[in-house]
Amino acid sequence: MPGTTGRKPGDESGGEEWILKLYVAGQTQNSLAAFANLKKICEDHLQGQYRIEVIDLVKNPQLAKGDQIVAVPTLIRKLPTPVKKIIGNLSNTEKVLVGLDLRKVA
């Protein structure tokens, strides 16, 4: 059953829940694309062992400071540590996987 412990096929989460923060600036094309791409990748590789938090800097500009966000969209992997940072609309799946340190299932 999804959501329970134990490895499932396509699950590379390593057993812990991933926390991902996606910083966007309003509902731009890039933002929407990034979110869609991120969802897909997470579904494919993390199978539910994840939590996506979307932060709109237009609504909350002060949050840009904390994670030092300059480019948008930026994806930050908070957990598992170490923190990883990826910028762009995540259309290049290869690079996203490398950036998030997600191995492809052989």
Binding site: P61, A64, V70, A71, V72, I86, I87, G88, N92, V96
Partner: protein, 520 residues
């Protein structure tokens, strides 16, 4: 930072300073040493200091992106204080963090347009490139003004210079201007005021030496003029300048003396030995000194420091002793340029400037005109010259005025005598063997005095002679008169007697005739 801080301090315009490379704590400390209290400004909500950290290691770029995050951060900082000025140091940090050059360039263009639209003046720093002005070609996006800074070492002396490369919409100076970073921020040497439209001064001030005032058209120097005092070593140039300082302080005016050879206490002591008490003016705050080794700084730095002192102290008289010591620090052209700017500033402010210069006695000729090595004499209104005169086994000093614009001045050579009562300009003697100085002069004076005395005696003697003769003559006349008087008397008596006898005879005759008649 100077731009932002001055905006806050002088123009009440809040500002934002974005640092990509320095931490805020470092900024605070560094700028405190320049006299800027960033902390205070932040607290008063006049300044936002923000540090944006760009990771140097390549961040995975996974598709299209823009730098809206940056815009948002800048925007919130600007809005927080209502900033009209922003400084970004250094924008090139973005280039090392993001590898997609085309996105970067597009965003930079957008950034500057965005700032411009909001009416914000932005100062951006970038590193110098090898072939272009900046390493990453930032200058293409910076619309309006580009300034390059340079730190050069020449003759073992380091100078910072800046140059305005372009400035749209306004004419600008295209030369390099040296600038100075000191305890009060940045100061650039003012060059713009090199027009020659000063008002010609008419007021005269005393030189401190009455005889010299007489030689200078009877009244002394023009206030605000430039006076060059050149001479060989030990001729007393400094004393001449100091005399004017003393005179000025007596009038209650402020004087600034810049020494490149002696220390302040040496100067005061030396002038004390010729009867000038300068210490009291120092105590009264009318006299200020600055003594530095000329090789300690570059020429521009010297100029900047002097101008700063002039602005702070606002003296009426300034002395630079000697300007010839600036020579090893720069070449002919540079020294002349520095002096020109200095004199220009002094004239504009009405400061009378005294400049001493060491020159060398040419061979044995005592009266040949000496060219000043720096050709600065043309910058000066008045040129006084002191020479050593050797002769008769001793050295004396000759003084003369080579030129003094705007007044009738004496062309006579005088002997320059220093004593413990001060400076004296004494007449020299043009004798048959040439002019005489020193003890030869004194000897001549004695001789002339003696000769004069002898002549006077001669005249006296002649007068006495005449007097004697007159007395003799008068005595003789007296004697003749007396003799005559006696003769007169005698003759008078005799005449009287004669007359008496005649009368008697007459009477007898009459008697006789009467008696004769009686018989008939």
């Amino acid at each position: 930072m100077e731009f932002i801080a001055r905006g806050i301090l002088d123009h009440r315009e809040p500002g934002v300073f974005i640092a990509f490379e320095e931490k805020i704590e470092d900024l605070r400390k560094n700028f405190l040493s320049l006299g800027f209290d960033l902390d205070g400004m932040v607290k008063k909500k006049q300044l936002v200091l923000d540090h944006i950290f760009i990771e140097r290691s390549e961040i995975e770029e996974t598709g299209e992106y823009d730098l809206e995050g940056l815009f948002i951060r800048l925007g919130s900082a600007i809005d927080a204080v209502g900033a009209k000025r922003i400084a970004i140091d250094t924008l090139e940090a973005l280039f090392s963090g993001f590898s997609n050059q085309s996105i970067l360039r597009a965003e930079l263009r957008r950034l500057f347009r965005w700032l411009k639209d909001r009416g914000i003046t932005a100062v951006v720093t970038g590193e110098r490139g090898d072939t272009r002005i900046t390493r990453y070609g930032l200058e293409e996006y910076v619309a309006d003004c580009v300034i390059t800074l340079d730190h050069r070492v020449a003759n073992q002396i380091a100078t910072r210079r800046l140059r305005i490369v372009k400035y749209r919409g306004s004419p600008h100076g295209t030369d390099e201007y040296p600038f100075l970073i000191s305890g009060e921020g940045i100061s650039v040497l003012p060059i713009t005021s090199l027009s020659l439209d000063h008002q010609a001064p008419v007021e005269r001030i005393s030189s401190g030496i009455p005889r010299l005032d007489t030689m200078l058209g009877g009244k002394g120097y023009f206030r605000g003029s430039s006076i060059l005092i050149s001479g060989a070593a030990g001729t007393g140039k400094t004393s001449l300048a100091a005399a004017s300082v003393d005179a000025a302080c007596r009038r209650g005016e402020r004087c600034l003396v810049m020494l490149f050879e002696e220390s302040k206490s040496q100067f005061i002591r030396n002038m004390g030995s010729i009867g000038m008490d300068l210490e009291r003016w120092v105590e009264k705050g009318l006299l200020r000194f600055s003594a530095t080794r000329p090789t300690a700084y570059s020429l521009e730095m010297h100029l900047a420091m002097i101008l700063k002192m002039l602005r702070d102290f606002r003296p009426d008289v300034m002395v630079i002793d000697p300007i010839s010591n600036l020579y090893p620090v720069g070449d002919d052209i540079q020294v002349r340029s520095v002096l020109m700017r200095l004199i220009d500033h002094a004239k504009t402010e009405g400061i009378t400037g005294f400049f001493t210069s060491l020159t060398h006695d040419p061979g044995s000729s005592a009266y040949g005109l000496e060219p000043t090595a720096m050709h600065v004499s043309s910058l000066m209104d008045t040129w006084l010259i002191l020479k050593n005169v050797e002769g008769n086994g001793e050295r004396n000093r000759a003084f003369s005025i080579i030129k003094s614009r705007g007044m009738a001045h004496s062309n006579q050579l005088r002997e320059f005598v220093l004593s413990d009562t001060g400076i004296d300009l004494v007449d020299i003697y043009p004798g048959s063997g040439g002019v005489l100085f020193g003890s030869a002069r004194i000897a001549q004076e004695i001789r002339e005095k003696a000769a004069k005395g002898a002549r006077e005696e001669e005249i006296g003697r002649q007068k006495r002679d005449l007097e004697r003769k007159r007395k003799i003559m008068e005595a003789e006349i007296e004697a003749i008169r007396e003799r005559f008087a006696r003769e007169e008397e005698e003759a008078g008596i005799q005449i009287g007697q004669g007359v008496g006898r005649e009368e008697l005879l007459d009477e007898d005759r009459q008697e006789m005739s009467r008696s004769r008649r009686a018989d008939e």
